[in-house]
Amino acid sequence: MAEANIVTVRKLSKIYRQGDINVTALNQISLDIKTGEILTLMGPSGSGKTTLLHIIAGIDRPTSGECRVQDIDVTRLNESQLADWRNQNVGFVFQTFNLIPVLTAYENVELPLLLTRLGRKQRRHQVNTALELVGLGDRSHHLPRQLSGGQEQRVAIARALVTSPSLVVADEPTGNLDSHSAQEVLSILQSLSQSAGKTVIMVTHDPKAAAFGSRSIHLEKGELTN
């Protein structure tokens, strides 16, 4: 039986206005992403790969077209609905980690759970599980500045996973890491897909990182090239 699509993108366009000029970031993109796959988005700078990732993740809106995630057209949700939807369905991993510097690793991971109805005990269980999963159970009380880049990114992955989202989006997650740390991070993302059935969409410039994906697509000037 064919695996179901978790993401369905149809005729998606995004046009930015820069002064008097219209810049087309995405031009009539159509795309299906299957549940549990690791999709890598590749392409030169300005090709629209990050814009596509942001629209799928519900942090940006298209100019036209449809983007359905688990049968919900995210382009039709209002700000508040979109915020709730992101909290429950999407985990974010950024290139620059984006941890809150005044919070410990534990607290950073706990942050998305503050929006849920979970009690303190259950939150603790989920946070510890997520930190164990990325191999940082013993660093939970460290502040971001006390961690290496690789460890910070692993904390960010734990934060992305803690709400058990079905979709994890990663924007150049290895861009700021050395090769060893990059390898670790990619292995974690791969295991998420393989053992936990998470769908991972990853933007990358790095062909080595792309090799970890189950499928890779290329964008150029806002259009799919393969």
Binding site: H54, A57, I59, D60, E79, S80, A83, D84, R86, N87, Q88, F92, F94, T96, N98, I100, P101, V102, L103, Y106, E107, E110, L111, P112, L114, L115, R159
Partner: protein, 381 residues
């Protein structure tokens, strides 16, 4: 972690800035409370317990114009009048002090108790004062200030009359709202000034509160169209007339208070804007994680509010304890006897702090609301 501890950690992330911001609010609110209390003390002076039944009679032309001593029996005959005493400002300098540090009045010592019943003194001191024409009684505050005691002698050189008088202190009183004055025999004053047949003012004790309006009208009428027309008024009205001499103090203090509050808003709003601007990226991350605009507003408001209220607690609270429990007479060198921070003034300070917290959070909240997650993520750390 709770939302509260998250807000607290954010508020304290730059400890120096947070401390300076709280201190700027604290100092400003301390100043605001001080101004409001000063305004209250100046415009609503404290009142003696017996003031409600006292009438002050002065020259209609000016307080500086004396009244003829022959008016006394006429006033005494007015129905409702219980006692009438001359009350003349001596204006003496004590020792070699440049300014007058306490007031001295010549009066009828026999009428001290009937008119100023709130002044408390041992019986033997009352008697000694009445018996010795060259004696005086002194308020407790002045006695303490100059370390004077019963039996001591003091000399006062008048700045109004060509007279220097020496007194023996017969008693030290307390219990009035202003325990600083020196009171002495009017006969001694008359003797020293060549019996001019003049008094500064008349202080009248009225039988009951119901009699007050009728007595003041009757006194004014008694000397109407005479060479020494008078103005009789309640002690309260008499005190308030001094305030009107200070000019529009209310407007001046209100103007300064407005400037203080306005500056405070600018400082706090600027601090909050700075604190939020440098966290734009983090706020964008929070939005991406699912925090809604209203939750981010609440974070900013709570931080701004916390800062303002902490400043208010330190500033207004500090003023409350300093002025209500400190020796204000000593602190102001006797300018203010009381300096009460009333619940209303505390309420105003809290209201200002609350408003400050809200106003200061508006601009950062708007800019956070206007910035999309994508734009926020693009901002530099």
């Amino acid at each position: 972690m709770t939302i509260g501890s998250f807000i607290l950690k954010n508020a304290l992330r730059n400890k120096r800035r947070a401390t300076l911001s709280v201190l700027s609010v604290a100092v400003s609110l301390f100043l605001l409370v001080t101004l409001l209390v000063a305004l209250r003390e100046l415009t609503i002076p404290p009142e003696d317990a017996g003031a409600a039944l006292r009438v002050v009679v002065r020259s209609r032309i000016s307080l500086a114009n004396p009244l003829p001593a022959r008016q006394r029996p006429i006033i005494e005959r007015i129905p409702g009048v219980e006692a009438v005493s001359p009350f003349t400002w001596f204006g003496g300098n004590f020792k070699n002090e440049e300014g007058m540090t306490f007031a001295q009045f010549a009066m009828d010592p026999k009428l001290l108790r009937p008119i100023f019943g709130e002044a408390k003194m041992p019986e033997d001191q009352y008697e000694a004062f009445e018996k010795d024409q060259r004696s005086c009684i002194l308020g407790k505050l002045t006695a303490e200030k100059y370390k004077l005691k019963v039996g001591d002698r003091i000399t006062l050189a008048s700045t109004i009359y060509p007279a220097t008088l020496e007194f023996r202190i017969a008693g030290i009183y307390s219990g009035t709202i202003d325990d600083r004055n020196l009171l002495f025999h009017h006969k001694y004053f008359d003797e020293a000034t060549g019996d001019l047949g003049q008094v500064g003012t008349w202080w009248v004790k009225v039988r009951s509160a119901e009699d007050m309006p009728r007595v003041t009208t009757a006194i004014n009428a008694a000397f109407a169209n005479s060479s020494s027309e008078v103005r009789a008024e309640t002690e309260r009205a008499f005190q308030l007339s001094f305030i009107s001499m200070l000019g529009n103090v209310k407007l001046l203090v209100a103007s300064i208070s407005t400037v203080v509050v306005f500056t405070l808003i600018l400082v706090t709003a600027s601090t909050m804007s700075m604190a939020i601007r440098e966290r734009f990226r983090e706020l964008a991350v929070l939005k991406a994680l699912g925090f809604r605009r209203r939750e981010l507003f609440a974070f900013i408001l709570a931080e701004s509010f916390g800062l303002a209220v902490t400043g208010a607690v330190l500033g207004a609270g500090g003023a409350y304890f300093l002025y209500n429990y400190g020796n204000i007479s000593k602190m102001t060198n006797g300018i203010f006897i009381t300096f009460e921070v009333t619940p209303k003034i505390v309420g105003i300070a809290i209201l200002v702090a609350t408003g400050l917290g809200i106003v200061a959070s508006i601009a950062p909240s708007i800019s956070v609301a206007r910035t999309s997650v994508v734009d926020g993520l693009k901002t530099l750390d």
